[in-house]
Symmetry: C2
Amino acid sequence: LDYQHVQVPFEITLWIMLASLAKIGFHLYNKLPSVVPESCLLIFVGLIMGGIIYGLNDRSPPVMDSDIFFLYLLPPIVLDAGYFMPSRPFFENIGTILLYAVVGTIWNVFGISFSLYGICQVRAFQLQDVSLLHNLLFGSLIAAVDPVAVLAVFEEIHVNEKLHILVFGESLLNDAVTVVLYKLFRSFCEMPTIKSVDVFAGVGKFFVVGLGGVLVGLSFGFTAAFTTRFTKDIRVIEPLFVFLYSYLSYLTAEMFHLSGIVAIIACAMGMKRYVEANISLKSHTTVKYFMKMWSSVSDTLIFIFLGVSTIGENHEWNWPYICFTVIFCLVWRALGVLVLTFFVNRFHVNTITSKDQFIIAYGGLRGAICFSLVFLLPEFHRKKLFIAATTVVILFTVFVQGMTIRPLVDLLAVKRKRESAPTVGEQIHIRFLDHLLAGIEDISGHWGQYYWKDKLEYFNSKYLQKILLREYDQPKSSIVLLYEKLERKHAIELAEAGQLGHGPAHPSLLGPGFLCSSNDRTVRTNQKLEDTQNPDVLDNMQEILARNLYRIRRTGPAYNRHTLPGESEPSEHAKEILILRHKGL
Amino acid sequence: LDYQHVQVPFEITLWIMLASLAKIGFHLYNKLPSVVPESCLLIFVGLIMGGIIYGLNDRSPPVMDSDIFFLYLLPPIVLDAGYFMPSRPFFENIGTILLYAVVGTIWNVFGISFSLYGICQVRAFQLQDVSLLHNLLFGSLIAAVDPVAVLAVFEEIHVNEKLHILVFGESLLNDAVTVVLYKLFRSFCEMPTIKSVDVFAGVGKFFVVGLGGVLVGLSFGFTAAFTTRFTKDIRVIEPLFVFLYSYLSYLTAEMFHLSGIVAIIACAMGMKRYVEANISLKSHTTVKYFMKMWSSVSDTLIFIFLGVSTIGENHEWNWPYICFTVIFCLVWRALGVLVLTFFVNRFHVNTITSKDQFIIAYGGLRGAICFSLVFLLPEFHRKKLFIAATTVVILFTVFVQGMTIRPLVDLLAVKRKRESAPTVGEQIHIRFLDHLLAGIEDISGHWGQYYWKDKLEYFNSKYLQKILLREYDQPKSSIVLLYEKLERKHAIELAEAGQLGHGPAHPSLLGPGFLCSSNDRTVRTNQKLEDTQNPDVLDNMQEILARNLYRIRRTGPAYNRHTLPGESEPSEHAKEILILRHKGL
């Protein structure tokens, strides 16, 4: 037995296997995931495993390594989030998101820190040795909403798109603020005296870290798109470039102390449309599928590790400090959302309702990023207190808020996400209105979002597409692309529906139409219908016809007319067609 | 700048990026890959890079770490090879393959070792200090044909299936023999005296290492199949299990000093048919695509590293020893193939021709496995000589043999692989003959391969499928599965052909059938044909009809009759249908 030799890959594989099996386990019972969010279950599994390890070894189980978290587990989740980011609602609400992410986070950091510093002055709590700077450092890591936790919970409750993008976008973009504040306060901790110059330098860093991240991301994104122009002969490595370039953008940003999360999101959003046009359909399926798979595994591992790391002797249980941290996190977030939304609503027609505000405030979950940052704190005698407080805040937000948010959304009747995809008619109207509004803005001299969007679109089709796309003979209008996509999807659905519909021993398989496709079959049976008058054969034909026509109509309505799916009963159609046929005969 | 922090993932990503870009670079010029195999080009890139590193640093570039090779680079390639192994020719020729892999490799090891020992006795060459045991150790690593090198060359020359599987199967299965002999001689080197018991234990180990690998692989494979029974609700992590279980099988086998290559191949071949039936179509595309992508990247990295590691001061250039190694490798392989094939041909009707024998002997390429093993040798004063000899043998086989094998195959007119997939008719006949032969064998009391295949199939459908498949209501006959697969493929092709056929500004897009699928369109135009008599509309209809019907026939002929593709002119069909329609009207 030579365990040493294979230890590293073996243990990594086993952990991933455990995570995947845990996921399967939860989904075996359909009721469980609908009541308890998966993140809670995974933390629970982690707690049990941590308890077992603790019980067997009699020492604290290993905590999640911050390097592993930031270098290997976080990037796949953020890449997935950025690649599948609905860009329209994101850019429509970019102002509000940035306000929440930057001003809101700063508000939370200082609010929580100063309030906690106030608590520290109460003699009875024995916390006088926690300085303001330490509180600020703690505040900077506990204030930020966590994208992984938010995604895990909000993906399951299906609130409307705007609400989702507000909370989720904030959780992603506040990374720049968190990075700056955390590093600023950490360097202050190590400095003997703090000059006012340092504080101003810190403010300047916001822009460097955020915009630098965007720049790094976009440059890698466009390079990726450019690279996929030349992969026509080796389709098989196309998906690789999507992953390699986005990971490189993350690592490069981290290397220069910029925001890696912002960089990878910019990279993913920048390359998406060009890469999709360049790579083959199968490569694209692989990219999408693999991204989802990878982020799902990372997500699972993070929550399990979070549970495992909670167990042990790393904590100092000073309950007043811990409880007040939880309370202040909730209070300051609620206040922040109220105040910021007040200003946002003054400038927008489409206001954020008070129900939405409540969900935004309530959805401010903390997660693994805080947890990793608190372990990265420099050693000082109250570090264990901060670890304990962070753990409790995370568990409170994930368990209490995460589990109650779904009933609350139901109770408040928050507007849900529409289930169906927009029809072609709707899409045409949206696009038409975009052009109209861009024209109105241009005439009125108001440079709003539609004006800029139009300019960007012009720049894109005039320069970027020519450089980045392989087949740039004639610009395909997006409606044609949509049509092609729908036709392709329809064909696959048709085949699968047909295949699922009739069992292997079905007469239609053994009948005259056996080896033709359903398409061919329809035409041929139509022809035969005129030839044969044998009633048995006729019945058989009619059965096949009914089934096929029924299916065509059923899978088709979403886009061949402006109706909502399910409006017309499909079986009615089948009957109607049959009656028509009968009469014709 | 904080490079230390991100160094490991950054450098790995950069290496993979380099490999991928090199691949793209070669394929930009279409002529290059058709003359020089990709493996040669990659080694050449590696040599240049090694030269640059050597020139800049003035010391040897880093050699490929054997651990990285065996733990991370080799498994994806072997998994890919095992998963896409054509099982029918493999099992039909399993006896011959095993003979080549076991007896042939032993023959080569001892032939090369003793001849080289003979050379060492020549005073003029100054090699008297190389003992027989050292020569045996060297022979055990240089004798084995390398699967990575063979795959890289044989994938490009498209010889017939039987020839391919003979060379490739041998290169995979000889791993068990290599592992045993290499470890045996290595332990002999460290032992003070060798007892005859140790030699017998070594012979026993063959079976343990080989059969143990098969057992480990099959048990992991069946567990993987069993696990995918329960992934219905979380399709997204299905592909993961294929990779996790096969990698675990490799690591477990390596841990117990069994043959990891044999294990992963057994795992992949064991799970394939059950996993494919359980997982969704998209998961399956992802598995296939990702496997190909991964193995392609591994392959590229291995050859680049091989080139990089060649440069430097690790070599002792004793030319007589090196030249005789190359000569003996060629001679003993040729002799081995001749002798073994003589026996094989006596027991088979379908003999191996002398042309095939030549290609088998000539295709015995050495590669990265030898290279990694030679660096794993225990330190002794002539190790650098062995490294030099191994490097020269690898470069000679990959460059000289790899580049000349394609012209030789052309020159000898070796039977090529048939380009088209077998028709349904052929498949039915093959299956029918299988049953017939199994019956004949059963009656005549001869337990040949058909008898055992039939028994295995019975065991599979009676027990294995019930345990491992999710939907085991009624056993689907493989002809039905094939039909479903073809129908699905046809639907996709149809959509894509239709989409490629008409440009964005085509009249059919603006015509009456615009927003219906082609399927729907056919039905609707049929109905309209009866209603309208307006000649303009009629012409338009006929055009649409002609195009659609033409396409249906064109994409379909491969399986709806027993013809070879391209036999009937598709445009004839379209005309014929149009004429029929005209007459009908």
